[in-house]
Symmetry: C2
Subunit: 190 residues, 2 copies
């Protein structure tokens, strides 16, 4: 299977033999998804992990007041899923959705966990990815606690401008935890 | 070193040789801390991981309005720290504090990461702990989004009553994300 970005993701982080790399790649299946397609819905147990070869996916919550809270956005070259449900096999409150027409590589939970036993270094790859998730989640929480809307927007422009460039105002606002009106004012001020 | 709960924590999760277990335990140092003692302060890089042999520690944020938000409470038999800072070596916004007079086992970041190279199964132990942290963080976030105060209190009573039994009303309220007055009303209703 031709998976240049996934191959790079893996080899940037761990050393595998050619056979191990081929084994790992053989466990992923390509999947084309349309813009706005929902991959995992609230109430489901999430048993798939998605790698983005092209496009963009997000995870989000639908809040009691009907507004959306976007937790995580994954562009090309990274994994995304409703991770806690994938780990715990409990139903998720999160949705996983494609934000653009996307080319994904999908691995089932069963196959992913099997790789932990089949490829010794896979444990390290997963550990590094979990560390990244922990740092990112904490940063997201801390920015909501410690920064006002303008500081959050400025920081996003400085660290991850792709989100602002590629996503709609609705998505960016739901990622920053502000209204679209506030986002428009922030953009006008810059 | 006599560390019955840590030994159990490790052997419940991975298989080690006697030499590997001895090596791991040799890297931790006992530390006695007083009630309310702050182990890691806001703005520090957190370079220590704490295992609770006796007592209780928490991590919390001081919010802009002066109130505290308790993120995590660790009683006997589990690890706790300002994990994102420990991973990323970036300054933390979280405090780590003992809630009771406690007997901790402390390992430095350097020694902890060295164990990942020295003991192959340590990678798995850490991965399992990171998975637990991910599930717990997500559950905490989802309960704030999806449950009202009464449902959160009822769920805590059902799943982790030790927090309500052993911690002060101030701490329980800051863990549930409600005021102490609301907590008192909920307790009176039960």
């Amino acid at each position: 299977m031709d998976a240049p970005l996934l191959t790079q993701y893996i080899t940037d982080r761990i050393r595998l033999t050619d056979d191990e790399l081929a084994l790992a790649l053989s466990r992923l299946r390509p999947r084309q998804v349309a813009k706005n397609e929902v991959l995992v819905g609230k109430g489901e147990v999430c048993r798939q992990l998605f790698f983005v070869e092209k496009g963009c996916i997000r995870t989000y919550y639908l809040q009691q007041n009907g507004s959306e809270a976007t937790r995580y956005i994954a562009f090309e070259g990274i994994f995304g899923t409703a991770l806690a449900s994938f780990i715990s096999e409990q139903p998720t409150l999160e949705y996983v959705q494609a934000l653009e027409p996307s080319e994904l590589l999908v691995i089932s939970r069963t196959d992913f966990y099997a790789l932990l036993d089949e490829i010794p270094a896979w444990e390290r790859l997963y550990r590094i990815s979990l560390e990244y998730a922990q740092v990112l989640n904490t940063w997201r929480l801390e920015s909501l606690i410690s920064m006002d809307a303008k500081a959050r927007h400025d920081h996003l422009m400085a660290t991850d401008p792709q989100i602002i460039r590629r996503c709609s105002n609705r998505i960016v606002a739901s990622y920053l935890g502000i209204t679209q009106e506030s986002l428009s004012r922030l953009k006008a001020q810059r």
